[in-house]
């Protein structure tokens, strides 16, 4: 039996063993998958697996088992590979069947017989994965702390050493090394290293990576959705059931890391590609994208993956398990959080209340074109020309796992690519800011918007934001057609006056009476006016104890996942209430308002851990809404009276 370390350090060995034992019976694949699933079942064991998120690629051993918490940014075309192939030992003429699964390269230290009847061609799918966009620093930290498999640089690793030293080192029979020798010395391909598994050692990666870092090698656009992101991008090879995965899913992948430099040989060895007429199928750009150097974009052969409901490290993967215990003190946590946010929002408790509702909102269903459960919030009255919005964003970032702040400056609007676009030359989906994982918070800072002209890109970007807010969908640009991708992004707009956003979209009229398409608009009424905002906010943040902060984090992520229902009885009451309200003044409440009320009531119930609507909560929701609309009306009057 392989030891614990074997299945992490040498998963391919295990795959090969199982393959050899199975005598070509087709069920060996399921056996392999079951083996690894079994191993990973144990939470403890799973944490031994080093994570690509925390450990730089060059510290990881090639062909070892790693995990990667990632976001599917693009899907490439399926590829056919040698599933089973036969090698012939030239000396003994003995034939050996080998599996090509979970590998990028076929080892043919011996001759490969491509024409054998036993050869099987199989299909696999490639996903281009990047780290989850907008993941908060605390999430990254927390994940990496919980993972004891922090690979220490292996003892043999010495960054200062020259490459040439590899060749002198007897232990280092790495693949690139092998190849280099063959290229250098004409002594032939036959023996040198004999047979057996190639030992897993460091690859060349460190040198090329440092090159990239120092800007020596040509910059490779790793296509992150958000500007300024860092982290490894990865080509994940999927062997089973790839149709279950979707673009923008977040996954945790366990797979075999492959950083064989043969993969990047094309980009370096220009001559050979010229000789090969078939290589003209791909343009240079396309090759750069689809076969980037393995040291920059490692390949990961998926053995096991699960879709993540959330990326909150404080919650177990299946959130429902944790809920029962936590729900008991939900109310107290909510109180604390409300107090905290009230402070942050300069003493405005109503705004804090709505902010909580916003933070736990999620699109839980769609009825034809209508997304249900979205709760876009517009906080107006943010002080202009101050760093308040930035501070506010920092606070939010502290609380939720992934978020992004988009300063809506004219420059950004006119120049940023918000909507992902297909680049047919390189044959990939160029990512845009709006390509975000479900439940990511998008913080739109409208205070940065100044007067000026939007060009056509700007208009398109604003339209895209409007679509996102109204329908929770993003129309990806495929040049010849658009494709609609439903999304689930919490949009929070901070603005000085009422947000222009939903109105500026060309398909919506600027009529004064049309109902706000933003689900909710709260005018901030600061009760306090601290002289130094920055200092004020940081004091609040510092005074928060870490354990309480973690409670907040759990609270916000957990409540999203709860189910919710309305009983018949309450339905009736709500209906009566609506009829009653309409009776008094039909203008006062419209169907839109009822929509919003229902969402507020839902979120309000959830925020205290109730999964059904009660009469009290309904009244409370109504009360909140009245407070809010009154405030908006008031503001209108004030503005109207202004000269």
């Amino acid at each position: 039996m392989p030891t614990v370390h074997d299945w992490i350090n040498n998963p391919l060995g295990i795959v090969e063993d199982i393959f050899a034992q199975s005598n070509c019976s087709p069920d060996w694949e399921t056996k392999v998958l079951e083996y690894f699933k079994e191993k990973l079942k144990d939470n403890e064991a799973a944490s031994w697996v080093p994570s690509l998120n925390d450990v730089p690629v060059h510290y990881l051993k090639a062909n070892s088992l790693v995990k990667f918490r990632c976001f599917i940014q693009d899907m490439f075309d399926p590829e056919f590979y040698m599933g089973v192939y036969e090698t012939v030992d030239p000396s003994s003429k003995s034939k050996v069947l080998r599996s090509g699964k979970y590998k990028d390269v076929a080892e043919c230290g011996h001759q490969v017989d491509l024409n054998t009847k036993n050869a099987v061609t199989l299909e696999r799918q490639t996903f281009y994965c990047v780290p989850i966009p907008g993941e908060s620093p605390w999430v990254k930290e927390s994940y990496s702390c919980s993972n004891p498999a922090r690979v220490v640089p292996s003892t043999s690793y010495a960054p200062c050493r020259h490459k040439r030293s590899y060749e002198e080192d007897e232990d280092m029979e790495t693949q690139p090394h092998k190849q280099k020798e063959q290229l250098a010395g004409p002594q032939g391909t036959t023996d040198i290293h004999g047979s057996g598994d190639p030992k897993r050692l460091e690859t060349e990666a460190p040198s090329s990576l440092s090159n990239a870092a120092s800007g020596c090698s040509s910059p490779l656009d790793l296509n992150f959705p958000l500007p300024g992101e860092k982290g490894p991008a990865c080509l994940v090879k999927v062997y089973e059931e790839w149709e279950l995965f979707k673009v923008n899913d977040i996954l945790e992948v366990y797979g075999i890391l492959s950083v064989d430099p043969v993969l990047s040989v094309i980009s370096e060895d220009k001559d050979s590609s010229l000789v090969d007429p078939m290589d003209c199928t791909e343009s240079v750009e396309e090759q750069r994208v689809h076969c980037p150097p393995a040291s920059l974009v490692p390949r990961l052969h998926m053995l096991y993956a699960h879709r993540l409901q959330h990326n909150n490290p404080l919650l177990p993967p299946a959130a429902s398990e944790a809920s029962s215990g936590f729900l008991n003190d939900v109310v107290s946590v909510r109180g604390e959080l409300l107090g905290y946010l009230t402070h942050v929002l300069l003493g405005d408790a109503l705004a804090a209340e709505y902010l909580i509702l916003h933070l736990i909102s999620t699109v839980y269903a769609r009825r034809d074109v209508l997304p249900l459960g979205k709760f876009t919030l517009n906080l107006s009255g943010c002080p202009h020309n101050s760093t308040y919005t930035e501070q506010l964003y920092r606070v939010i970032q502290q609380l939720i796992p992934s978020s992004f702040r988009l300063g809506m400056s004219l420059h950004n609007m006119n120049n940023l690519r918000l909507v992902p676009r297909k680049d047919y030359t390189a044959n990939r989906l160029l990512s845009g800011v709006l390509q975000l994982a479900p439940n990511t918070s998008l913080f739109l800072d409208e205070t940065q918007l100044e007067q000026g002209q939007l060009d056509s890109t700007g208009v398109r970007n604003i339209t895209a934001l409007g679509n996102l807010i109204s329908w929770q969908k993003v129309d990806y640009d495929f040049n010849y057609h658009q494709m609609e991708f439903p999304c689930n992004i919490n949009v929070l707009i901070a603005s000085e006056g009422k947000s222009l956003l939903p109105f500026l979209t060309p398909c919506l009229p600027c009529t004064p009476h049309s109902p706000p398409q933003c689900d909710c608009h709260v005018r901030l009424q600061p009760q306090l006016a601290p002289p130094n905002l920055e200092q004020y906010i940081s004091t609040i943040q510092v005074s928060l104890s870490p354990s309480l902060l973690n409670k907040f984090r759990i609270y916000l992520s957990l409540l999203r996942t709860l189910d919710y229902s309305i009983s018949e009885e309450v339905t009736k009451a709500v209906e009566d209430d609506f009829v009653e309200m309409r009776k008094d003044d039909p203008q006062s409440i419209s169907a839109e308002d009822l929509h919003r009320l229902l969402v507020v009531a839902r979120l309000l119930s959830l925020s205290v851990g109730h999964t059904t609507l009660s009469r009290d909560r309904w009244m409370r929701a109504k009360h909140l809404e009245t407070l809010r609309t009154n405030r908006t009306e008031q503001q209108k009057c004030v503005n109207g009276n202004e000269p």
């Binding site: 076929a106 673009v247 339905t571 009829v579 309409r582």
Partner: protein
């Protein structure tokens, strides 16, 4: 697979004959016996597929069917430089018959040689290393690795060509042919006349005629298609021995049923004939691919030819004539090249599962298929799926274990372009399984199908039952009638609907829903679209300097629904193009020298907001939305979406919304099923049901129309025009379609009447009198308003007359007088209108501030 114990048959004899043939140098390739090459032993090769590897040559006796080899050895040539263009050779030395018609290489079949060679296998060929197939015992000859016997295959295909009749064919490829005669023989005749040596064969035909042959074609296209080529050419030149065509006929199968969707391609499809649909996203430059290299010795000028083998040319190291080493130099302009183009094909958006990105495939087009398609075209491609084998690089110990795949195109068929014979609708018909049809029929048989369907429409939008019903009828449309023979042209079958009403009454949502529902829907906003964006515009292609017609939303939604939001925000010039589209269903373009009329058989679903942002119930529809009545009268149904403000409605609305928010997943699932069902239902009805008016129905329609006219005539108003009658007919037909009925019956007329009346009641009610007055919509003014105007003019006239004989009057003075006299408030506009009316009567003229009597 053939049985191994087959007794010696004529295949054996065939085999013998071939071996003899094959022994004679088969110089069937485009090669001249010019002096320098005459002593060269031409290498035997397969006839059309270019299998020229050593493996083939070893067993060249059976190197695959070579029936023409004995014929072509006498071909003499004009200039060797004309190799690449067979046509010029034909012109150069006119000749006729099979003997002289050059064979054209088919790189589409063999440009990529497989490592595993294909060979004719017989009992006495092949050494022990050849994987002994089960055929080796028997006498039957098959191509190595397949079960294809060339002789039988050829015979079968000739039989197919000679006998296949498809009397029920609706294929536009066959338009103009006599359906009761063998189809492909007529096509051969066509080739003889037209001279285009390409025979397109519909695989479906082949399948229905000979399933086994079809299977072979799909499984071994590389071997079977050349066999077909041979068969066709033999047949053709037998029939038309004097025919002169550019090169020998090539068979191009299409419509292979194997695969439809790029996503379904898998390793099993490799080297098989497949048809996939997709969209061209990129085409490469033309790539000249060397087929045959020409080498000349620098020393003795001895020349030799080397064929490309698996993308490589084995340069002769030694001159065979003078034995000098490394003296052979490549002469480029005497080498033979073929055209090749790389095309990137992307999955069509309809075929894609939600939430995934589209797949792409590389397609190679060869020879005359090059430049047949442009980026953006929707095409069906039939071709052979290839996986390029891994090439072993001796320098490398490890190779990437990934195959590159592509398709060698054999046939292109554009889908979303107007095809020559105009039967495009049928071609696009969605295919329904029998089971699906049965469920649809069952649904149609239910008495409440109409209500069911209309409630399935946009379930998230509450109530507005009649509006939904109207939209439902719009989805189905009326029956298309063609009176072009009598000069009237087609009658409009599409139903146009206008929704107007308060903002926020989910008009946009309805439009969005419809747009998502219909396959050819377009969604535009009146504010964002210009006339050009709606219709079509002429653009100069930057590369080719050609004028290209780019179509806009209206043309794109031909046979679909064009949803126009913010209809009122549209500029007048934009709106004016709608006049033609909404009645004549065509679009005329006269721009940059292009004058044409495009079909725009689209239904228009428009939404408009009232000018004052809130609907003013005291005004007429026209006044509220400020649209020209000429346009309004082209809408069959105009609905108002108003907030009804009544308690029962509120209650139902509340219930609806609340249930919307707590319905469980399963219930949601059900809804989605309904949407797919609704889609299919509409598609089925649109393509298969063509209701005609029954006798009773026509009587009912006449009666309804007369009644409508009568209502108004009592009060001196016209309440219906022939356009309304047409609308009624369309609505009745659409309702019959909903029931899957081929006859329009009285109930259909009843519903049409009811709906029409409902819509009228909402939109054409004169707010002053409360009566329905169609003239609001047709002339823009209600009869009462017109009457009022006339009265005012008369009053003014009387006022002026009462003043006696004054030739001129002050304008303001007159206005004040009139106001003082009248008991109703008179605005300046009304006063001016009255003055205008009197001016028209030649009673007075207005110059500046004075009014002068005439």
């Amino acid at each position: 697979m053939s049985s191994p114990s087959a007794t010696p048959t004529k295949d054996d004899i065939l085999c013998a004959a071939w071996s003899e043939d094959a022994l004679t140098p088969p110089s069937r390739r485009r090669r001249t016996d010019d002096a320098s090459t005459s002593d060269l032993q031409p290498m035997p090769t397969s006839p059309v597929t270019d299998m020229r590897s050593p493996a083939v040559q070893d067993t060249s006796l059976f190197s695959s069917p070579a029936p023409f080899s004995h014929l072509s050895d006498t071909i003499d040539m004009s200039s060797p430089l004309t190799y690449g263009t067979p046509s010029s050779r034909v012109e150069g030395t006119p000749r006729s018959g099979l003997r002289g018609t050059p064979v054209r290489q088919r790189p589409d079949l063999g440009s990529v040689r497989k490592a595993r060679q294909v060979d004719l296998h017989s009992d006495h060929a092949n050494g022990p290393e050849a994987p002994a197939s089960e055929h080796s015992v028997g006498q039957k000859l098959v191509i190595w690795g397949t079960d294809v016997n060339v002789g039988t295959c050829k015979e079968k295909f000739q039989r197919f060509l000679q006998r296949f009749i498809d009397p029920s064919s609706t294929d536009d490829e066959n338009a103009g042919l006599d359906l009761n005669e063998p189809l492909y023989m007529q096509k051969l005749e066509e080739i003889n006349v037209v001279g285009d040596p390409v025979l397109n064969v519909n695989c479906e035909h082949l399948q229905s005629f000979d399933a086994d042959l079809y299977r072979q074609l799909i499984a071994y296209p590389q071997e079977v298609i050349p066999t077909f080529d041979m068969a066709v050419n033999e047949l053709f030149f037998e029939r038309f021995p004097d025919s002169v065509i550019e090169h020998q006929i090539q068979v191009r199968p299409y419509n292979a049923l194997k695969t439809r969707n790029m996503r379904n391609l898998n390793p099993e499809d490799i080297d098989q004939l497949i048809t996939i649909s997709g969209m061209v996203i990129r085409t490469s430059q033309l790539i000249p691919e060397m087929q045959e290299a020409f080498f000349r010795c620098q020393v003795c000028a001895f020349s030799t030819r080397v064929e490309v083998d698996r993308g490589r040319i084995a340069e002769p190291a030694v001159c065979r004539n003078c034995n000098t080493t490394h003296s052979m130099a490549l002469i480029h302009n005497r080498s033979i090249f073929s055209d090749k183009q790389m095309i990137k094909l992307q999955e069509s958006p309809e075929d894609m599962p939600a939430g995934q990105t589209p797949h792409t495939t590389v397609v190679y087009a060869h020879n005359d298929l090059v430049d047949k398609v442009q980026p953006g075209d929707r095409v069906n491609i039939t071709g052979i799926y290839r996986a390029v084998p891994i090439r072993l690089n001796p320098r490398q110990s490890n190779v990437k274990s990934v195959y590159k795949t592509h398709i060698d195109a054999i046939h292109f068929r554009k889908t979303h372009e107007k095809r020559l014979h105009g039967l495009d609708e049928e071609a696009e018909e969605k295919l329904f399984t029998e089971e699906r049809v049965r469920t649809l029929r069952e649904l149609a048989a239910k008495p409440d199908v109409y209500e069911r369907l209309s409630s399935a429409l946009a379930p998230s939008i509450y109530e507005h039952e009649d509006i939904k019903k109207g939209i439902l009828l719009q989805l189905f449309g009326g029956t298309r009638k063609d009176f072009s023979q009598t000069g009237r042209g087609g009658f409009r079958a599409e139903i146009n609907i206008l929704l107007c009403g308060d903002p926020g009454t989910s008009k946009s949502q309805l439009l969005q829903y419809v747009y998502n529902l219909v396959p050819r829907g377009q969604y535009t906003s009146g504010k964002g679209s210009s006339a050009v964006g709606l219709t079509a515009y002429v653009m100069k292609d930057p590369e080719t300097r050609q004028l290209v017609l780019q179509t806009g939303a209206l043309v794109l939604s031909d046979n679909g629904i064009c949803c126009i939001d913010e209809f009122d925000k549209m500029s007048d010039s934009t709106r004016s193009v709608l006049h033609e589209v909404m009645e004549q269903q065509t679009l005329s373009i006269a721009k940059a020298g292009i004058i044409c009329q495009l079909n725009a058989r689209t239904s228009v679903l428009a939404a408009a907001n009232p000018v004052e942002s809130q609907w003013n119930p005291k005004k007429t529809t026209i006044e509220n939305i400020q649209l020209p009545h000429t346009l309004l009268s082209r809408f069959d149904l105009i609905f108002l979406m108003l907030d009804p403000q009544d308690e029962a409605y509120d209650r139902r609305l509340a219930h609806h919304l609340v249930s919307l928010y707590y319905q469980s997943e399963e219930q949601l699932e059900e809804e989605f099923l309904d949407m797919a069902m609704l889609k299919d239902y509409v598609a089925y009805a649109r393509s298969y049901i063509e209701p005609r008016l029954s006798e009773e129905a026509s009587q009912a329609l006449i009666k309804a129309y007369v009644d409508m006219r009568k209502i108004g005539s009592g009060r001196g108003m016209v309440s219906a025009y022939p356009r309304q009658l047409e609308s009624l007919i369309r609505l009745a037909e659409a309702h019959a379609k909903v029931r899957f009925s081929d006859k329009v019956e009285t109930i259909d007329v009843e519903e049409a009447k009811r709906l029409h009346r409902e819509a009228l009641k909402q939109s054409a009610t004169d707010p002053r009198t409360g009566f329905v007055d169609i003239s609001i919509l047709t002339t823009g003014m209600s009869a009462t308003a017109r009457k009022r105007k006339e009265e005012l003019a008369q009053a003014l006239k009387r006022l002026i007359q009462s003043k006696g004989k004054v030739p001129t009057m002050k304008y303001q003075q007159l206005f004040d007088d009139l106001r003082a006299q009248s008991d109703v408030a008179i605005t300046k506009d009304m006063f001016e209108e009255a003055l205008q009316a009197l001016t028209d009567e030649d009673y007075l003229t207005v110059t500046g501030k004075t009014v002068r009597l005439l």
